[in-house]
Amino acid sequence: MLHFNTIYKGTVQLVLTGAFIFLNAVSSSLSAQEIDILLKGGHVIDPKNGIDAVMDVGIANRKIHQVAANIPANQAKQVIDVTGLYVTPGLIDMHVHVFHGTEDMSYIADGHTSLPPDGFTFRSGVTTVVDAGSSGWRNFRLFKDQTIDRSQTRILAFLNIVGTGMYGRFEEQDVSDMNPTMTAHMITRLFPEVLVGIKSAHFWGGFTQVDLAVEAGTLANVPVMVDFGEHQPPNSIEDLFMKHLRPGDIFTHTYSYGPANRETVVNEDLQVKPFIFEAQKRGIIFDVGHGGGAFSFRQAIPSLQQGFLPDVISSDLHKDSMNGAFKDMANLLSKFMNMGMSLSDVILRSTWKPAQVLSREDLGHLSVGTEADIAVFSLREGKFGFQDIRRTKIEGTQKLEAELTIRAGRIMWDLNGISAPHWETELGKK
């Protein structure tokens, strides 16, 4: 009995101790380990959620866990001090060419003019890119295998209405290879997670290609993006906006200036054409698509002054734009800021707005529960220059620099090592 009692007591003690340890573990996991990374003291700009204030952002299990003022540091495994910096949703660059390859005859589809995205994205705060029709239904699977599945950047894509995508300007004229049914099938049946729209571009004829793209867009219930500028004489963009495109379709290279083969949004007297405002009201989406040849101050500055703003700010990143006036998304957003747009406005047009245009409302914001794609910028003060493709420049006083980029909760870029300990802390010297 006594013996039994002792055993009994011992067991109770053991159970109680075990429970105590267990509860302790649970409580410490709730307080000290709940958050994996805490971005502390930054100014959060999250247009979807209407946040433009100093807030802390907690990440747990690769998702946004909490956005609030003064989240206690002891709730996080890692605290990164981002005081004085801006914390935004990871940028979405809605117009890029990243179907990189070494196919001799091709230029953008599996060719040298495209480039692998990861070397450009994270260092400028971008976490999602949208390939703008480099591939068509015939070669999208190669693109996916070769680039999309191997990249750390999230890659979405517009499928070109031309089966072989952007293989060559010559092949892009082949109307017999513009198949709305196959294009729509590939989007709806095979890759609805990745394919977000249809691209029409580089066509030398009339409206045939746009109409086929819209037909495919209607079948697949996705938007069409149009690069509309290789017709001599130019086709009417008023007809394009009012008669051929649907609300939600996208006009890219908005500020391009090459009046011989592309009708411009601003006329020779530097006035925005009245139907442009009408078109935007109708729901046509205007995309920057800066590129190597598609951004001129003589178009953009009058537009902004007269109240015509781009819906989406995108790069048209490729080999021939990367080292020119474009450079990177942080530079492009800074250019728009120095033309008069506010920081929160350029962030809106490179995060939540493209997410809406693409019907990917899971992206472009920092709502609790969404995948933690985050950019942290410093806003440098100084004397900077910003160029257009006609080798003219404007001066500016502010420039965004990507300090830290997080993709799905992982730090992909850390310019100045703000997430890293000082090297001597490990040796106990500091």
């Binding site: 990861d118 910003f386 100045n416 890293a420 300990p421 090297w423």
Partner: protein, 419 residues
């Protein structure tokens, strides 16, 4: 008599003046240079210059270096006031044989495309570190070298297929010194050396064959870090003056570190340095450690060359870009002049390409222009640790063979006017 003389002399002088005046005017109107960089500070180690100098370019070459070059002499004048003019930098350790193969360096997506990274950090020449071997160099040339704006040179891997992954890259039967040397002889304008990089065994045959190829071709040998079966002392002892040890400041399992547990530089490393073996940074994703570099620099082992080991897995790490690597060494105590000297002329000498890396008149106009930013900056190593620094080199303008290929703030552009 007096008057006559005066009458004679005056018009004579007048005509002489008129003659030369028109002559000078004609020359200046002819605009003898394509581009003149004015008001910059030139650091050109080969020519012993570290002072304010104007630099002129004509037909892709340096046409004049002088204290003052008149703006009228140039078609374009770029004011680089407050900036540093350097020969275009040379990155001697990159992996740029990019292609479609998954998880592969040679012809694969583990390599990167050079132009994506070079000009924006002041680099005009990269050297591929043995990503290709004799079997696939010509494919590398066609698919990357010939379509890049960056000058791309290469070390040829002693493994016939280059860095194609295991086991093929370790196959001794495909390490052929004669064919390797022959290909180098066939492409002297591209191939600057031989590389031995990946071999896990203890058999010295691969190393000896690489050395044999380097001897046959009369080029340097680049020794990479993934040779765990060889001791560091044995590798250094076999290396000739002018051969290059990569990943100098690395602290990983595959290669013994150069610093011992008491933070002393190993005697065999010092001896090799004295003997003329060259030490490259090859920063990479895993190849640069402050616990090696800081003690090594204190004990005098500064890098001979600043290879980045640029590839897909290093580009977004503590490496970032060439200018960042130079800034990191400045934060560890090296001077601006020292890092630019090593990264231009000394690197050109190391790879025996003495036509580049300097701005002598008639040399190719590969030029980098930097701003030395003041501020609070951080630099990270492969252990994920940071040091702080007060200066950062930022690339303002890069010129390759006389063409402006990168212009950060539009120094070469004209102001926009609404008209």
């Amino acid at each position: 008599m007096k008057d006559t003389a005066r009458q004679f002399c005056m018009p004579h002088r007048f005509f002489l003046f008129l003659f030369f005046g028109i002559g000078i005017g004609t020359v200046s109107l002819a605009q003898v240079h394509d581009i003149i960089l004015v008001n910059g500070h030139l650091i050109d180690a080969k020519n012993g210059l570290n002072e304010p100098m104007d630099v002129a370019i004509l037909d892709g070459k340096i046409s004049k270096i002088a204290k003052k070059i008149l703006p009228e002499e140039g078609k374009r004048v770029i004011d680089v006031h407050g900036l540093i003019i350097s020969p275009g930098l040379i990155d001697p350790h990159t992996h740029v044989y990019v292609g479609e193969k998954p998880r592969t360096f040679s012809g694969g997506s583990s390599s990167v495309s050079p132009d994506d990274f070079t000009f924006r950090s002041g680099v005009t020449t990269v050297v591929d570190a043995g990503t290709s071997g004799w079997r696939n160099f010509e494919d590398f040339k066609a698919s990357v070298i010939d379509v890049s704006q960056t000058r791309v040179l290469a070390f040829l891997n002693i493994a016939g297929g280059g860095m194609q992954g295991n086991p093929a890259q370790e196959d001794i039967t495909d390490m052929n010194p004669e064919i390797t040397a022959q290909l180098i002889a066939n492409y002297p304008q591209y191939l600057v050396g031989v590389k031995i990089g990946h071999y896990a065994g203890k058999d010295w045959t691969p190393f000896d064959r690489a050395l044999e190829a380097a001897n046959l071709a009369n080029v340097p040998l680049l020794v990479e870090c993934h040779l765990p079966g060889y001791s560091l002392a044995d590798q250094l002892e076999r290396m000739r003056p002018g051969d290059i040890l990569s990943h100098t400041y690395e602290n990983i399992r595959d290669r013994e570190p150069i610093i011992d547990s008491l933070e002393k530089l190993l005697p065999e490393v010092k001896a090799a340095k004295v003997r003329g073996v060259l030490f490259d940074v090859s920063h990479g994703g895993a190849g640069f450690w402050f616990d090696q570099a800081i003690p090594a620099l204190r004990q005098g082992l500064t890098p001979d060359t600043f290879g980045t080991d640029l590839h897909r897995f290093s580009m977004n790490s503590g490496m970032k870009n060439f200018a960042n690597v130079l800034s990191k060494f400045m934060a560890m105590g090296m001077s601006l002049e020292a890092v630019l000297t090593q990264a231009s002329w000394k690197t050109a000498e190391a790879i025996k390409q003495e036509d580049i890396g300097h701005l002598s008149v008639e040399a190719v106009a590969d030029i980098a222009i930097f701003r030395l930013r003041d501020g609070a900056f951080g630099f990270v190593d492969s252990a994920g640790q940071r040091i702080n620094g007060k200066q950062l080199l930022e690339t303002e303008l890069t010129i390759r063979a006389g063409r402006v290929v990168y212009d950060l703030n539009g120094l070469s552009a004209s102001p926009y006017h609404n008209n």
